[in-house]
Structures are given as structure tokens and as C-alpha cells.
Symmetry: C2
Subunit: 186 residues, 2 copies
DNA sequence: GTCTATAGCTTGATAGAC
DNA sequence: GTCTATCAAGCTATAGAC
């Protein structure tokens, strides 16, 4: 019973994530959300009393959990570093569909003055950087270098996603993925 | 007489560029445009019969001209390569205010199904890549390598801008600028 | 070439029945 | 927890006077 209800909520959040990710905050209008979820506005407001802002915040929270609990988890787990990084790279590749899907941090922070959204996006990016940096330190890099390499690696990924969206060319994103070992380990 | 008129138009385009750049297509509403330009809607439609879409297209055209005629011009000019690249880097740094200002290619292509906008953004990015690649070839890189390095250099810049917008940290963008020589020349 | 005034639609959000 | 019906406000766009 409870698991069924939780699954329904999870499916709803999945659909909302897709919408905000591909259309941004402004572009994810309630009418589009209604169409995609099959729920009418009043029903959506029953589940998210805070309206669209609360939906976006829930989407960011869920995606942060995905990053921490799945995509980046291997980097904090035991095992051989190169293999753990390869796992994270493979999961990132799938998550961004080889560059075919945008990043929420990019699309959701544009023109969003909402404090809850900005704080969550900032926190999610920080966690990503911290995790990459900790892994680089484990691989022998001094703290300052590790942080720099972590930031540059993520910037390469994000930039690759921008280029993919603008021109359709996914190669820069894929190369950014492939370059993770030399960026964080060597 | 004519130069005065042209200057007025140039100032208007400058204001429009700022608005689209920082707020995206959806966020740059006509009311904000009215406020920023001091013109009322009907006056704006007198200058841009095609409405907001035509404004965005004009902004992209103007920015493409800025890239070709100013920012990237040194790379196609005679002189010592390292000095020419340094000039372009300095101009890019100023153009993006050290990472404090977003890139139109990123903010204007989100949720924009308009064909004219997408085509122009794609063309502008292609020109940027081509110019970087031609410079890298001049510096001795084979064509395929040159293109790859050009794409990766621009991805690093675009990613740095994303990180700057999300977290406020401009270091990744500044490092991407500083790394241009080793990316395109060495 | 600028303005006032207005049209028509979409937006996010609520009230209240069932 | 879902729905119908409705709201005020915002949006892009246009008509027409000066």
C-alpha cells in the first residue's frame, strides 16, 4: 500500500524532472505539466501546496539524491579507484543520455530568483565538486590541486552539454567523460 | 543625421542584448524590455515588426558581428600567434566580465523552438569553433586535432560560465581563459 | 516614430463540489 | 485526492490617434 503510493509520487517527480530539465523553469508551464502528468492544476496543488516553486525544489532534491546515492556513490566507496571512476563515468553518460539531455543546474537556474532553487542548485554543484575533489585527493593530488581539477572536470562536462544543446554535437561531452581519469587521477 | 539614428539603434540593441543574455528568451518579457529601453510596446513593434523573436534574432546577429569583428578578429589577423591569442583572451574576458555575464548561446537557446534563433545560435557557435580550429591548425595541429581542441576549449569556457552562474565562482572560467595557449598552440 | 488603449490569450493559483 | 469552474495578473500583439 505505502510502496504503491510512494511509487506514484516517484513517477510524478520523474516526469516533473524531465520537464524542468528540458524546458527550464519558465518553459515548464503548468499546462505542460498537466499534459505530461495527466493531473489537473488543482490536483498538482494538492500535492505541492507551494506551487511550481515547490515542484522545482522537489525536483532538485530528488536529483541531488540521485547524484549522491547513485551517480557519485562509487567515488566514495571502497575498491580500485580507476574502476570506481569508470562506474561513475558510465552512470553520468547514461544520466545525460550521452549529452542528449541538459543539466538541471543550467536550465533551472536561469532567470530563477527563487532563493530555495538557487540554494539547492548551489548545494548540489558544491557536493559534486566536493566528491570529485575528495576522489582526486585520494589519488594523490594535494587539496588545492584536487579542487581545481574537480571544478575543471565538471566545467568540461557542463560545457559539453551546452555545446550539445546548441549544435547537436555530443563529442565534446563524451570526450569530457573520457578525460575524467587523466583529470582526476593522473 | 544618419549616424545619430544608427547610434540610437545600436544603443537599443545593446540594451536588448543585455536583457536576453541575463534573463533568457522567456525571462526577457516585453514589460522588462519596455522598462529597460524606455520605449512602449507599440514603439518596439514599430522597430521590430516581427516582435520578440525578431528582437532576439537581431541580438544574435549583432553579437555574432561582435565576435567576428572584434573578439575573434585577432586570431585571423597577421602577427605573432601567442600575442594574437592573448588579445582574444583579454577581449573574451572583458566580454564575459570575467565570468559574471552569461553566454547568449546558453541562455537564448533554452526552450526556444524558434528556427531563426536556433539556426543563428548554431551558426555563431560554428564560427567560433572554426576560428579557434583554424588558429590551432596555423599553430601546427592537424585538422582533426585542431577541431577537437577548439571544441574542448570553448566547452571549458561555456562550462566555466555555467559554474559561475550557479555558484558564483568565476575561477573555472578564468582558468579556461588562461589555458587557451596550451589548448590551441602547444 | 511615438504614444494611448485595448484585444486575446496564457500564466500561476484558488474555491468548492464530490 | 480528484475534479470543474473561475480568478487576477501577466503575456504578446495590434489598432489608431497624433
Amino acid at each position: 500500500m505505502k510502496t504503491v503510493k510512494a511509487q506514484v509520487k516517484e513517477d510524478l517527480l520523474k516526469t516533473l524532472t524531465e520537464l524542468f530539465r528540458e524546458n527550464g523553469y519558465d518553459g515548464a508551464s503548468l499546462s505542460r505539466i498537466m499534459e505530461a502528468t495527466g493531473l489537473v492544476k488543482a490536483s498538482l496543488y494538492h500535492r505541492f501546496a507551494g506551487g511550481k516553486e515547490e515542484m522545482a525544489e522537489a525536483v532538485l532534491d530528488r536529483t541531488s539524491q540521485t547524484f549522491a546515492g547513485d551517480l557519485l556513490a562509487p567515488l566514495s566507496a571502497p575498491g580500485e579507484p580507476s574502476e570506481r571512476l569508470a562506474q561513475t563515468a558510465a552512470r553520468l553518460k547514461k544520466f545525460y543520455r550521452s549529452g542528449g539531455l541538459p543539466c538541471l543546474l543550467d536550465t533551472l537556474t536561469l532567470n530563477s530568483n527563487n532563493q530555495g532553487i538557487r540554494r539547492r542548485a548551489r548545494g548540489a554543484l558544491q557536493y559534486w565538486i566536493d566528491t570529485f575533489a575528495a576522489f582526486a585527493r585520494e589519488c594523490g593530488h594535494p587539496p588545492a590541486t584536487a579542487r581545481r581539477r574537480a571544478e575543471d572536470a565538471i566545467a568540461a562536462l557542463e560545457g559539453g552539454l551546452v555545446l550539445a544543446r546548441v549544435s547537436g554535437n555530443r563529442q565534446p561531452f563524451l570526450r569530457a567523460l573520457e578525460s575524467l581519469p587523466e583529470r582526476l587521477m593522473q
